[in-house]
């Protein structure tokens, strides 16, 4: 479904990822892990069009994404939840969600994904009129994912959704990710909490200093002694 081929992306000449290739199949949860600055976020940004790759190709369902404007990429069915969430802070929860379905304005059923969002995060339905900036950190993360779901994506990309979230909610969020996949979407997730993430993931990639170090089924990665030592802290 998504195929990233030898993508290299640089910031002002400094290469952040070089010749990274990954594949995501329909219906999978794929986890990307790696140390700080390994280039995980850069990879997602390059797919989402927030950064323009210097070389390489990104194909999504037969369409070539690299070089496409970011909002067009969103329209092709990729939803991206960046590290810092990027909500619209002074708009209400309702408006944030409504904006998620901006692409479908004029359509009668534009609010259809709302059922899923409220099923996953019932708390959001209680806070529709609250300004996004006054939500707690965890609720903001839920809203960010909810807003992304409103764009009716086929592929959902999450960048460290557990960051700054209290333990109880981390679990809820990972469970939600699983439910999202089960409802028919594909998920590409970047996480530091590899242990939890690998529990729900089908396959995983490990990045190191901008390159793919390792890839394989989640169980295999979890079992790898090097990984256990270096990334799982076991």
């Amino acid at each position: 479904m998504l195929s990233v081929h030898e993508v290299t992306t640089a910031y002002q000449g400094l290469v952040a990822i070089s010749a990274v290739s990954i594949e995501v199949q329909k219906g999978e949860i794929v986890c990307v892990a790696g140390a700080n600055g390994a280039g995980k976020s850069t990879l997602l940004k390059s797919i989402a069009g927030a950064e323009r790759p210097r070389s390489g190709t990104v194909m999504f369902d037969g369409k070539r994404l690299d070089g496409m404007a970011q909002h067009h990429i969103t329209a092709t069915g990729i939803a991206y939840v960046p590290e810092n969430r990027r909500l619209f802070p002074r708009l209400s929860v309702r408006d944030n969600l409504r904006l998620g379905s901006y692409l479908y304005r004029g359509e009668a059923n534009r609010e259809e994904p709302l059922d899923l969002v409220f099923k996953l995060f019932p708390r959001l339905s209680e806070r529709l009129d609250q300004r996004a900036e006054t939500l707690s950190g965890g609720e903001q993360q839920m809203l960010a994912i909810g807003r992304a779901l409103m764009t009716r994506p086929r592929l959902l990309m999450l960048d460290e959704p557990s960051q700054g979230i209290m333990p109880k909610l981390v679990d809820e969020i990972f469970q939600a990710v699983k439910l999202i996949r089960d409802s028919g979407m594909t998920v590409l997730i970047v996480e530091q909490r590899m242990a939890e993430c690998l529990e729900i993931a089908d396959r995983a990639y490990i990045l190191q200093t901008g390159r793919v170090l390792m890839q394989g089924p989640a169980a295999e990665i979890t079992g790898n002694p090097d990984v256990r030592k270096a990334y799982l802290g076991l």
Partner: protein, 292 residues
Amino acid sequence: MTAETIIQSLASGLLMGLLYGLIAVGLALIFGLMDVVNFAHGEFLMLAMYVTFFLFTFFAIDPLLSAPLAAAALFVLGAVVYLVIVRFAMRAKANVGMVQIFATFGLAIVMRGLAQLFFTADYRSVPNSWLGGKTVSVAGIFLPQPQLFGALVAIAAFGGLYLFINRTDFGRALEATREDPGAVALVGIDKNRVFALGWGLGAALVGLAGAIMASFFYIYPDVGASFALIAYVTVALGGFGSVFGAFAGGIIVGLVEATTALVLPPSLKSVGIYAVYLLVVFVRPRGLFGSM
């Protein structure tokens, strides 16, 4: 000073104030949208007045009728200015505000130069429009028709703008883009389109104001300067980014200007406006209705 003088002053001030509000609201909209102070705002007004003047002179279209045309012309201008100039000025990493100020300041100079080149430095005016020079008088209070009409247009425009921003998807997209232009692509909104439309809309409102002004004001390449500063103060007084603030700010400025002239020498009447601005922001550092 008779009661009549006072009432007349307040009435004139109110009408003028609504016009100030209409001139300022475009500025407020653009500012609110992208934190850009458009220093060519006065020149937009100037151009709208020329558009109206030439439509009148060559096609005998009355300012009443040409107002939508002027608004449309200015809409295009605003969008083009965004796409050709402001969009690039926003690439600055530091001091974006200053770069934009000076890019639009440069634009203002160019526009004045072009006006002088193509329209000459002569003073123009629309001599006998339908409303020009006509007055309604109620109980000894005179209300000039162009301004009266302008006030109605201003109120209508404000109402329309309010509904547009608060009730439509595009309005919501506008708000979202103002909040975080980098994030709207996440929901499939093209920020450049929103910005261009925002600039277009802001300029179109000035276009309306210009068409109304043309029926009672003189026109020449530097005419915008008379209104630019008032427009900035109006917007700041009402609170940057607040459309309603521009409306209220306009009315306050109009009334304060009129009343100051009753007590101080008229040459100092803008001091009254300035003093009120300072008083307001010292008490409310974000203007009356500002949120940013």
